[in-house]
């Protein structure tokens, strides 16, 4: 008699999702599914709007990474105008992107995933949260809040607001950077670098203590996709797409704007989140992962000195072999965080950063445009088709978290198989299932162009669909 366990909703992730764990007669896990439970329909309801409204509208896909949507959208709009964006405008956009990535990565490590690492997967769920982290290590918590604030303030200095800024416009940006703002941000860099390094030290100590778990927890082979420069350096704003296999051998390299030739999406009846894959290998052989770990696996180097040093250590964790355990995402996320703070400094010290040449005017020239960017959670695409007046005819969005849909489902299954035996399951085991999802920092608002989240409500059903056991946690 088969049974099913439901985890709903999953917490400390952004989005509405639930997990079902299907048990066989002997009470062993047969399969597990990660259902994403939301659909908002941006692809359709944006039709008929004017293309230049999209950087404002699509921010509302996600309040955690609105800047990613803002910027990728404006990149697609640039293509519709067909103009060359001034260098300073590109630098300023990238600066905003760094602010976004710093706030998102810092928040995730300390406030969403941190409680599992700092307090333990089996800690009392009543304290296993950011408040518990504050109680356990107030100083560290304050550093986390300050790092997030630093990122958010870069965004608001440029775009007036922390969430849903108004800054990038097709052809450039709407405001030059005042010297006072540059100096104010620069004055904090050294402190922020130290804070991220503290986070990295915490992470490394944790990995040392939990070597076995880090190595085996939801570890499985996939390909990895990430944006790189010509020299295969990590890039987040602009570059080429590089796909490497499970041993880091390059499979392909392509211009992200031609994604339709390389990437396709598969649909399952049980999730509102689609499953992208590499077209030439087909579904499911062409599955890949994105986001911090994938980007570091796909890159050969990092262009800033401190992050490069950390990257070298990262590469040597398994003697140069690929890191495929899902918990390594947390480690990679912090190395990227460090890169972003250093890159912020590089951008601000660029001789042209204060230039007033920030916009190139243009009119609708091309009937189609694609934008691609590395959002905190992975590669993000927007594509728009317009009529001669710039009214949208069609919209396609391929979002970061979607690219990790296969990986999250697989991670859930791996962890369920390792920790769940029979319908009597400990709370800590269920939290580990959630933690497998959390490693990917999914943003389900984004991914279904929707939003949600997940606490746990566990129900065990018999094959006739009758509920035979129910456990809610956190009540």
């Amino acid at each position: 008699m088969g049974r099913m366990i439901t985890i709903e909703p999953v917490t400390r992730i952004e989005g509405h999702a639930k997990v079902t764990i299907h048990l066989d007669d002997a009470g062993n896990v047969e399969k597990a599914r990660f259902h994403v439970n939301e659909f908002r329909g941006f692809e359709k309801f944006c039709e008929g709007r004017l293309f230049y409204e999209m950087p404002q509208i699509t921010e509302r896909i996600c309040g955690i990474c609105p800047v990613s949507h803002h910027l990728v959208s404006v990149k697609a709009c640039d293509e519709i105008l067909g103009v060359e964006v001034p260098r300073t405008a590109k630098l300023l956009r990238e600066l905003m992107h760094m602010g976004q990535t710093i706030q998102s990565h810092s928040m995730h490590f300390f406030e969403l995933a941190g409680p599992d690492l700092l307090l333990g997967f089996d800690a009392d769920p009543a304290i296993r949260n950011v408040v518990g982290v504050i109680q356990a290590d107030a100083q560290l918590a304050l550093k986390a809040v300050t790092l997030r604030k630093f990122g958010q303030e870069i965004i608001s200095r440029l775009g007036e607001r922390r969430v849903h800024p108004i800054f990038a416009v097709p052809g450039g940006v709407n405001k030059a950077l005042p010297a006072a703002d540059r100096d104010a941000i620069l004055s904090q860099i050294a402190t922020m670098i130290a804070y991220v390094q503290d986070g990295l030290a915490v992470m490394k100590a944790w990995m040392e203590k939990h070597q076995q778990e880090v190595e085996t927890f939801a570890a499985f082979p996939t390909a990895y996709l990430g944006m790189v420069g010509k020299d295969n350096s990590l890039q987040l704003y602009d570059g080429q797409m590089r796909l490497v296999d499970a041993h880091r051998k390059e499979i392909d390299r392509f211009d992200g704007r031609k994604y339709l030739d390389y990437i396709a999406e598969h649909v399952e009846s049980w999730s509102y989140l689609k499953f992208p894959y590499y077209k030439k290998l087909g579904w499911p052989n062409g599955v890949y992962r994105v986001g911090p770990l994938a980007r570091l696996n796909a890159a050969d180097r990092i262009d800033t000195p401190l992050a490069q040093k950390e990257f070298e250590i990262f590469r040597q964790v398994r003697g140069g072999k690929v890191l495929d355990g899902s918990l390594y995402y947390h480690y990679a996320r912090l190395i990227e965080d460090l890169y972003c703070v250093e890159r912020t400094q590089q951008l601000l010290e660029h001789p042209e950063i204060l230039s007033m040449q920030i916009h190139t005017a243009g009119r609708v020239t091309n009937r189609q445009g694609v934008g691609v960017i590395e959002a905190p959670r992975g590669t993000l695409w927007h594509q728009y088709w317009v009529d001669e007046h710039g009214q949208l005819e069609k919209v396609n969005l391929l979002v970061a978290t979607g690219n990790n849909n296969y990986a999250m489902s697989r991670a859930v299954e791996e962890v369920a198989k390792a920790y769940v035996k029979g319908p009597e399951v400990s709370e800590g085991a269920l939290n580990r299932v959630e933690a497998a999802i959390r490693a990917y920092d999914p943003c389900l608002s984004c991914s279904t162009h929707a939003l949600g989240r997940m606490p746990i409500d566990l129900a065990v059903y018999d094959p006739a669909g009758k509920q035979v056991n129910r456990k809610r946690r956190g009540q």
């Binding site: 439901t6 909703p9 917490t11 400390r12 952004e14 509405h16 259902h35 439970n37 939301e38 659909f39 908002r40 329909g41 692809e43 359709k44 309801f45 944006c46 039709e47 509302r60 309040g63 955690i64 609105p66 406030e111 969403l112 409680p115 769920p125 296993r128 949260n129 950011v130 408040v131 504050i134 918590a141 809040v145 604030k149 958010q152 607001r161 922390r162 969430v163 849903h164 396709a264 999406e265 598969h266 649909v267 399952e268 009846s269 049980w270 999730s271 689609k274 992208p276 579904w283 396609n396 943003c443 608002s445 162009h449 939003l451 949600g452 606490p455 409500d457 946690r473 956190g474 009540q475």
Partner: protein, 180 residues
């Protein structure tokens, strides 16, 4: 010492931006937590507000499916004061744009017609929530306090919560209203 005010929050069809704005009170969060206890929220592991209820319930987002409706009703039932946080909860916001084209057309575009989709189908598993017309929160449950803005400014959220914690009725005017 007076007992702490209990707070629960959740998100419906929105973007999490309102909760981000709540976190944007930065280090004042620590001050707030001296007077308020966070129970179920998207950033804690308590999954539902307790049956014994909370003093303040906060909801972000519009209601656009059966799961959201259930969450909204439970939060209403278990909160003394219910706050609609942000334009989506107050007016419906961007999520209501889905009401204009037919829902079926939205689903077809997303899961069948998009250029990158191969062999698409509209997800219909019984585990998934049932889609509804998108509504602002007060068309589903009674709302006590409306806090507009997309998102509302962090200062407005902090002011609102500190007033409630102090047992006063907040006056949301002037700089606390953000009409972007």
């Amino acid at each position: 010492m007076p007992t702490k005010v209990t707070v629960a929050s959740d998100w419906l069809a929105g973007c999490a931006g309102c909760h981000m704005s709540l976190l944007d009170i930065d280090e004042r969060l620590v001050t707030l937590l001296q007077h308020a206890t966070l129970l179920s929220t998207p950033i804690t592991d308590l999954k539902h507000p307790p049956d014994t209820g909370v003093d303040v319930g906060i909801l972000e987002g519009a209601v656009n499916n059966s799961a959201n409706e259930a969450v909204a009703k439970q939060m209403r039932q278990r909160s003394k004061i219910l706050i609609a946080m942000g334009d989506c909860a107050v007016f419906g916001g961007i999520p209501t744009m889905r009401n204009c084209p037919k829902l079926e057309a939205c689903l077809r575009r997303a899961y069948i017609e998009t250029e990158s989709t191969v062999d698409g189908r509209i997800p219909d598993d019984p585990e998934l929530a049932v889609m509804q017309e998108t509504r602002p929160l007060d068309q589903v449950v009674d709302v006590d306090i409306y806090l507009p803005g997309c998102p509302p400014p962090a200062d407005a959220i902090f002011y609102l919560l500190t007033e409630l914690v102090a047992g006063r009725k907040p006056q949301l005017t002037g700089k606390y209203l953000d009409w972007h």
